[in-house]
C-alpha cells in the first residue's frame, strides 16, 4: 500500500527510559467523529467491529431495550447505547450513542497500568493494548473514566477498541467507519474532525432549533480522539453515562504528575519508577466511585 505508515509510539505504560524510536517521525493526530444526531442505531458498527477483530459471539439476553448488551465486553468493543430521555413536554427523545474507547489524549488506563508496554499511545493519538504484556491486574479498568477496558476471565488479559490500529497503520479507516451507512461516523485528522463537528453543531443550532447542540471533546482529559456531536452538549450524561468532566482517579494521576517528567531523564532509575508505582498505588483495591461511572445505566430506559 502506497501510503503505508508505521504506527509511532508516543507514550507507553510503566516504561522507564525513552520511548523506542522517539523523534523518528510525527504522525498526524487521528480522530473518529460520531454525530449522534444522524446515528440511526443500526448497529452496523457493532457487527463490523466483531467481524474485523474476529471476536467470538457471546450470548445476550433480552433486557427491556434495543441495546445489544448493558456495556461493552472484552469481546464486544463497540456498543450503541440507547437511551429514552424524557422531555419536559412529556415527549421522549430517543438517543443513540456509539460507545467505545475514547482514545483520550491523557489516557487514564495508561496512567494506571503498571505493566511495561501493556498500554501504548501512538503519536497519532490511538491508545492500544498489547495483550502479551498485560498482567491482568485491571488497574486500567478503574483508571478509565468511560468504563471501557474489560477483562477476558479466560485469558486474564484486558481488551478494548484499538481504533483499528491495524487498519489505520495501513492507511485504512477503522472498520466501524467503513460500515456506517449514514455517514454519522467519520474519520480523519483531529483538526478536520473538530472542524466538521463544530460546523455541524452550528448547523443544528442555526437551522434545526437545537440551541444547545455542541461537540464533546472533554478538556479534563486533554481531549479525546473520539469526539461526539450531541443534540445537547450541556448534558452528555443523558447519552448513557457520558461524563461531563471525565477525570482520571487522583491516585493514578499523582505519581505520573510527579515523576513522569523526570522519568525520561532518569532512565537509569527506571526500576525505581516501577517500585514507586507499587508504593503509591498499592495492590488493587476498590476505588472511590468515579463521578460518572457508567455501566448501571445501560438499559435504555
Amino acid at each position: 500500500m502506497s501510503d503505508r505508515k508505521t504506527l509511532q509510539i508516543q507514550r507507553m505504560s510503566a516504561h522507564p527510559g525513552p520511548i523506542p524510536g522517539t523523534g523518528v517521525q510525527r504522525d498526524v493526530q487521528v480522530c473518529k467523529l460520531v454525530d449522534t444526531t444522524t446515528c440511526i442505531g443500526c448497529k452496523a458498527c457493532e457487527v463490523a467491529c466483531v467481524e474485523w477483530n474476529d471476536m467470538p459471539f457471546g450470548a445476550t439476553t433480552f433486557d427491556n431495550t434495543y441495546q445489544t448488551m448493558p456495556e461493552t465486553r472484552w469481546n464486544f468493543w463497540n456498543l450503541i447505547k440507547f437511551n429514552e430521555h424524557p422531555r419536559e413536554d412529556g415527549t421522549v427523545q430517543w438517543l443513540m450513542r456509539k460507545d467505545q474507547c475514547m482514545h483520550c489524549a491523557d489516557p487514564g488506563c495508561l496512567a494506571a497500568c503498571p505493566a511495561d508496554g501493556a498500554i501504548v499511545q501512538y503519536t497519532n493519538g490511538i491508545v492500544d493494548f498489547n495483550q502479551e504484556n498485560c498482567i491482568g491486574c485491571e488497574y486500567c479498568v478503574s483508571g478509565c473514566p468511560f468504563n471501557i477496558p474489560k477483562l477476558n476471565p479466560g485469558t486474564k488479559k484486558v481488551y478494548k477498541c484499538t481504533l483499528c490500529s491495524d487498519r489505520v497503520g495501513e492507511g485504512l479507516e477503522p472498520a466501524c467507519i467503513k460500515a456506517c451507512p449514514t455517514g454519522c461516523l467519520k474519520f480523519g485528522t483531529k483538526d478536520d474532525m473538530k472542524f466538521i463537528a463544530e460546523e455541524r453543531a452550528k448547523q443544528l443550532r442555526d437551522n434545526f432549533g437545537m440551541e444547545k447542540a455542541g461537540v464533546y471533546d472533554p478538556e479534563s482529559i486533554g481531549g479525546t480522539h473520539v469526539i461526539y456531536v450531541l443534540h445537547d452538549a450541556t448534558d452528555p450524561e443523558r447519552y448513557g453515562g457520558l461524563p461531563k468532566n471525565p477525570t482520571i482517579p487522583w491516585s493514578y494521576t499523582v505519581w505520573k504528575w510527579l515523576f513522569k517528567p523526570v522519568l525520561g531523564a532518569f532512565a537509569l532509575f527506571g526500576g525505581l519508577g516501577v517500585l514507586l508505582h507499587y508504593v503509591t498505588v498499592g495492590p488493587r483495591r476498590p476505588q472511590p466511585e468515579p463521578p460518572n461511572k457508567e455501566g448501571t445505566n445501560g438499559n435504555g430506559d
Binding site: 444526531t37 445476550t60 439476553t61 415527549t91 421522549v92 455517514g183 432549533g209 430506559d301
Partner: protein
C-alpha cells in the same frame, strides 16, 4: 419510487409515514441524512411508534395505526385552505379542471354513488368525466343530458380503461356493458365549476378538519397543524422553487384501504406540484432487495411482465384482450395526450414471441391461447384460503416462508395439512417446510398429516449472479461471491430441471393441453443450468427480422438485441420478455452491468451506473419538473428542459416525454395515463373503492368511523368465511391496537439462524407503553400474552415511553407493537429459548380490494401477563 434513493438528497422536506427507513432501509436512509446536512431539509415522521427513523426527525407525531388517510386528507385540506398549492401545475398537469358527470356522489355517508350492497361492489359508471368542451369561467351549467356517455357503452369488461382496469375478481361482471372514458373531456380551467375535480376534492376534504383529524388519528390538533404547516411550507404563496418528498413502505400497503393511502399521498404531491421533480415524488421503499424486480417480472397473479394485464376467460382471442387492455386517449380537446399504453399490442406480441418463439405465429394469434386465463382472484391470501378449502392441492414455495408470512399463520398451517404435496426450496429448514412441527401439533396429530413435503436446497443471494432491481427501478448486476455449499443448487437450475422433466413427461405421455409446455422457448446454451445473462438478454429483447426505423434509417439486424422498447413491433418481428426492461442489454452490452460513477449534473442521476427502467430514466414524469414553457421550476435542479433551437426535450435525465412535443402543443406530462395528466380523481375502474380516498376504519377497529359511523369499514372489503376467520371487536375485550414490523437487526425469518444477528437481538418482544404496563403491573422483561380473535402470542415485554397513550375519538387507548421475526425454527427456537409463537398467528385474513395486501397493521388484541 417515482424518483430514486440518491435523489432523496435533493429534497427540502420529507414526510416519512408508513415506513421506517432508518431501520429497514438503513443504507438508503443515508440520502435522507444527506438532504438534512446539505440542504437543511426537514423531516416529519408520522408513525404509531417512535422508531429509529422518528429519532432523527424534526417533528414526530404518534398516529393510530390505520388512520393515515385521515391525516393526509387533513393535510390536503390545510394546503387548500392556505393556498399552499401549485396552481399552474394543478390546472395543466392534473385533472383538477376536468368536469365529472352528474350523478356522481361523494361519500358523506361512507358510500360513493353506485354501491350495490348485495355484491358489495360499485357500479362505477358515474365515476366518469363529462364529455364536452371548454367551460372555463362559465360557472354553473345546465345539466348535460349524459347521452354521450351512455352512447359510448361497449361490450366487454373494462374496455378502454387501460392497464389499470378492474381486478380479475370482477371478470364475472364482464358480460354487462362497461362505460368508456369520453374522448373529449369537459373542463374548466378556472376550477370554479361545482362538478370539476378541484371543487369536488375541496368538498371531499373540507370534512377532514383538524378536529376530525384529532378524533380519528389521535394526533392533537396543535401537533397536526404544526406538521401540516411545516410540510406545506415549501409551497408558501405558491412559490415553486422548493420540493418535498413522501417516503413510505408496507406500513401503508398493509391495510384494507392501503392503495388509497398511497393515492392520498400522490394527490397531496400533485396538489403541491411535487411529482416529477428532483427531490419530490411518491417513493415506495421496497422491503426486499429484489421485490421491485419480482413485481416488474409479474411475480403477482394479475399481471404479465411489464404490468400487462393478465388475460381472463372473457378474452376469447388476442383482439378482444388487446381491446380491453389498450387505453384510448381521453382529454380536453385542445390538449394532447401521448397515451403511451396505446403501444400495448407491440409489447404483448413481443412478449408472446419471447415466450413461444416460432410457435407464435400471426395465424395462431401469436399463441395467445397458450396464456393462462385467470378466472378468479389468485392473490396471496386467496391461495391459502383455496388450499384450506381443498381447491389447491399442492404448492411450490421458493424464496418465501408462507407459514411465517401469514396472515393468520394457524390457518396457513391448516391449509398445508390439507395439501397433497409441498415443495420448499430454501437455504434453511424453515417453518413452512416443517409446518407439521408447529407448536400444538402432537406426535399423534403429526401421523395424521398426509402432505408429502419435498425440501430442495437452494442457493443464497451471494451464491447466484443475476440482477436485482432496487426500489429506484435500477437493474444492477451482481457476481457470484462463492458457490452454493454441499448439494445446494442454483434456483434457476432447480426450476430448469423441473421444467425439462415435466416437458419430457408431456412428450412421452401427452396431456390435456401440452402445447404451451412443449412450445415454450428454452434455448439456453445449457438448458439444465440456464445462464442468467442469457435470460437477461431474452428479457431485454431482440429483432427476429431486419427492422428499420423509417425516421433515422437505422436498421437492427435479425438476431440483434433491440436498443429499447420503441423498437418493439406487433408483427412478430421482435421478441421481448418484458418491455419495460427493453434496452437493459443491448448490442452495446449489458447496461445493467455498468459501473460509471460520473454525475455531471450533481443531482445524483449517475446515468452510466447500471440501468433503470424505463429507458434509463431516473425520475419518472420529469416533464412535470418544468413549467408550461418547458423551463425547470427550479433553475438549480435542472433535470430536463425544452431546447427551442433543437426543438427537442433534452437534459441531464432522459426526458419522460415525447421528445419532439413542443410545450405549445400542451401534451400532458403523465404519459402513461390516457388523459396525459395526473389523476386527482380516478375515473371508472381504476380503483375498487372510490375515485377519491376516504378514511375507513380497519376491519378490527376500536371505534365507529367518526366520519360516518354507519359505514365504518371499507364497503367493498369482504371477510373470509372459514372457521379460522374470526374478527375481534372492542366489545369482546380486544381493545388494544396492535401493529407488526421488522427490526434493523433481523431480516425476516432467516437471520434467526445467524449467531451474529441473534446476538444483536436474541428473542422476540412486545413493545408496551409504560402507562399500560403500569396498569397491568408488568415490568420490562416479564412475559406477556397477546391475544387476538384468532390466536395468541407470547414474548417478553419491552416497556417503553416511546409509545404513549392516545385519545381516539375521545377515548383513551393504547397501541402495542411486535416484531415478526421469530418462529419455531432458528438458533434460539431450537434451543427452546423462545415461546415459539408466530406474530402472524394474530393477524386477520382481510385484504385491500385493490392490491390484495393483507391488513397486518392496526388489528385488535388484548394483552395480559403470561
Amino acid at each position: 419510487m417515482t424518483n430514486g434513493w440518491i435523489d432523496i438528497k435533493n429534497t427540502d422536506m420529507m414526510l416519512i409515514m408508513g415506513g421506517n427507513p432508518a431501520e429497514n432501509h438503513p443504507c438508503g436512509f443515508k440520502w435522507a441524512i444527506e438532504a438534512k446536512i446539505q440542504r437543511n431539509a426537514k423531516t416529519i415522521v408520522v408513525d404509531p411508534r417512535l422508531t429509529r427513523t422518528a429519532a432523527t426527525a424534526d417533528l414526530y407525531l404518534q398516529i393510530r395505526a390505520g388512520a393515515d388517510i385521515a391525516f393526509l386528507g387533513g393535510v390536503i385540506n390545510y394546503a387548500l385552505d392556505n393556498n399552499r398549492i401549485a396552481r399552474d401545475y394543478l390546472v395543466n398537469y392534473t385533472n383538477a379542471g376536468f368536469i365529472i358527470k352528474e350523478g356522481f356522489k361523494l361519500p358523506d355517508d361512507g358510500l360513493y354513488s353506485g354501491f350495490d350492497p348485495e355484491t358489495k361492489m360499485y357500479d362505477k359508471s358515474s365515476w366518469n368525466y363529462e364529455e364536452g368542451g371548454d367551460l372555463s369561467g362559465k360557472a354553473v351549467l345546465p345539466t348535460p343530458s349524459g347521452q354521450n356517455a351512455r352512447a359510448t357503452h361497449v361490450q366487454g369488461s373494462d374496455t378502454g380503461q387501460g392497464h389499470q382496469g378492474a381486478s380479475p375478481a370482477g371478470a364475472k361482471a364482464g358480460a354487462s356493458p362497461v362505460p368508456l372514458l369520453p374522448s373529449k373531456v369537459a373542463f374548466d380551467l378556472s376550477l370554479q365549476h361545482p362538478r370539476c375535480v378541484f371543487q369536488l376534492l375541496k368538498k371531499q376534504y373540507e370534512r377532514y378538519t383538524p378536529e376530525m383529524v384529532e378524533r380519528i388519528t389521535g394526533i392533537p390538533q396543535d401537533q397536526f397543524l404544526k406538521a401540516a404547516d411545516l410540510y406545506t411550507s415549501i409551497r408558501k404563496d405558491g412559490d415553486m422553487k422548493k420540493v418535498s418528498t413522501i417516503i413510505y413502505a408496507v406500513g401503508w400497503t398493509q391495510h384494507s384501504f392501503g392503495t388509497q393511502i398511497i393515492r392520498t399521498a400522490a394527490m397531496l404531491q400533485m396538489l403541491m406540484g411535487n411529482v416529477g421533480r428532483a427531490g419530490g415524488g411518491v417513493n415506495a421503499l421496497r422491503g426486499h432487495s429484489n421485490i421491485q424486480g419480482a413485481t416488474d417480472m409479474a411475480g403477482v397473479f394479475d399481471t404479465l411482465p411489464g404490468y400487462l394485464k393478465m388475460p381472463n376467460p372473457n378474452d376469447v382471442d388476442l383482439a378482444t384482450y388487446l381491446k380491453r387492455i389498450t387505453p384510448i386517449s381521453s382529454k380536453p380537446d385542445p390538449w394532447n395526450s401521448f397515451n403511451y399504453w396505446s403501444n400495448t399490442p407491440k409489447f404483448t406480441v413481443s412478449l408472446l414471441k419471447a415466450l413461444y418463439g416460432p410457435a407464435a405465429t400471426k395465424d395462431n394469434d401469436w399463441a395467445f391461447h397458450y396464456l393462462p386465463k385467470i378466472d378468479r382472484n389468485y392473490s396471496w391470501v386467496n391461495i391459502w384460503n383455496d388450499m384450506y378449502e381443498g381447491k389447491i392441492k399442492g404448492l411450490f414455495a421458493f424464496g418465501m416462508n408462507g407459514v411465517m408470512i401469514g396472515p393468520d399463520s394457524t390457518k396457513n398451517i391448516e391449509a398445508l395439512k390439507k395439501a397433497d404435496w409441498l415443495v420448499v426450496c430454501e437455504i434453511y429448514p424453515d417453518e413452512t417446510s416443517e409446518f407439521w412441527r408447529a407448536p400444538g401439533i402432537s406426535a399423534d396429530d403429526q401421523k395424521k398429516i398426509n402432505t408429502t413435503v419435498y425440501r430442495l436446497p437452494g442457493a443464497g443471494f451471494a451464491e447466484k449472479d443475476g440482477s436485482f432491481t432496487n426500489s429506484a427501478r435500477w437493474l444492477q448486476w451482481k457476481q457470484i461471491a462463492l458457490p452454493p455449499p454441499g448439494e445446494a443448487r442454483l434456483d434457476q437450475d432447480i426450476l430448469a430441471m423441473i421444467y425439462l422433466k415435466v416437458r419430457e413427461l408431456y412428450q412421452k405421455e401427452g396431456g390435456k393441453f401440452a402445447d404451451p409446455v412443449l412450445n415454450a422457448t428454452f434455448a439456453y446454451t445449457n438448458p439444465y443450468a440456464p445462464s442468467l445473462a442469457e435470460v437477461a438478454k431474452e428479457v431485454s429483447g431482440k429483432a427476429l427480422a431486419d427492422i428499420t426505423d423509417p425516421k433515422t434509417n437505422q436498421t437492427i439486424k435479425s438476431g440483434q438485441q433491440v436498443p429499447g422498447f420503441a423498437w418493439l413491433k406487433d408483427d412478430g418481428t421482435t421478441a421481448c420478455g418484458n418491455w419495460i426492461y427493453s434496452g437493459s442489454w443491448t448490442e452495446a452490452g449489458a447496461m445493467i452491468q455498468r459501473r460509471g460513477t460520473e454525475d455531471p449534473s450533481g443531482l445524483g442521476i449517475y446515468p452510466n451506473w447500471a440501468w433503470s427502467w424505463p429507458a434509463n430514466r431516473r425520475v419518472l414524469y420529469n416533464r412535470a419538473s418544468c413549467d408550461l414553457n418547458g423551463k425547470p421550476w427550479d433553475s438549480s435542479r435542472r433535470q430536463v428542459w425544452w431546447d427551442e433551437g433543437k426543438q427537442l426535450w433534452v437534459g441531464n435525465d432522459i426526458p419522460d416525454f415525447k421528445p419532439d412535443s413542443a410545450p405549445k402543443d400542451h401534451m400532458g406530462p403523465f404519459i402513461m395515463n390516457p388523459e396525459g395528466i395526473g389523476r386527482l380523481f380516478v375515473p371508472l375502474g381504476g380503483m375498487a373503492d372510490g375515485p377519491f380516498p376516504e378514511h375507513y376504519e380497519p376491519i378490527e377497529s376500536p371505534i365507529a368511523n367518526p366520519l360516518h359511523p354507519n359505514q365504518s369499514n371499507n364497503p367493498v372489503v369482504k371477510k373470509y368465511k372459514t372457521e379460522f376467520d374470526k374478527y375481534g371487536t372492542a366489545d369482546q375485550g380486544f381493545n388494544v391496537i396492535c401493529t407488526t414490523y421488522r427490526l434493523t437487526e433481523h431480516y425476516h425469518y432467516w437471520t434467526k439462524n445467524n449467531p451474529m444477528n441473534v446476538q444483536l437481538v436474541p428473542e422476540p418482544f412486545v413493545e408496551v407503553p409504560a402507562e399500560l404496563a403500569d396498569r397491568m403491573g408488568v415490568h420490562g422483561g416479564e412475559r406477556v400474552k397477546v391475544t387476538s380473535a384468532r390466536s395468541h402470542y407470547i414474548a417478553k415485554a419491552m416497556v417503553t415511553r416511546r409509545i404513549r397513550p392516545m385519545k381516539i375519538d375521545g377515548k383513551e387507548m393504547f397501541q402495542i407493537g411486535l416484531p415478526i421475526h421469530w418462529g419455531f425454527r432458528g438458533i434460539a427456537e431450537d434451543e427452546g429459548k423462545t415461546a415459539k409463537t408466530l406474530a402472524n398467528q394474530l393477524t386477520p385474513t382481510v385484504i385491500d380490494p385493490n392490491a390484495f395486501t393483507p391488513e397486518f397493521k392496526g388489528f385488535l388484541v388484548k394483552i395480559e401477563k403470561a
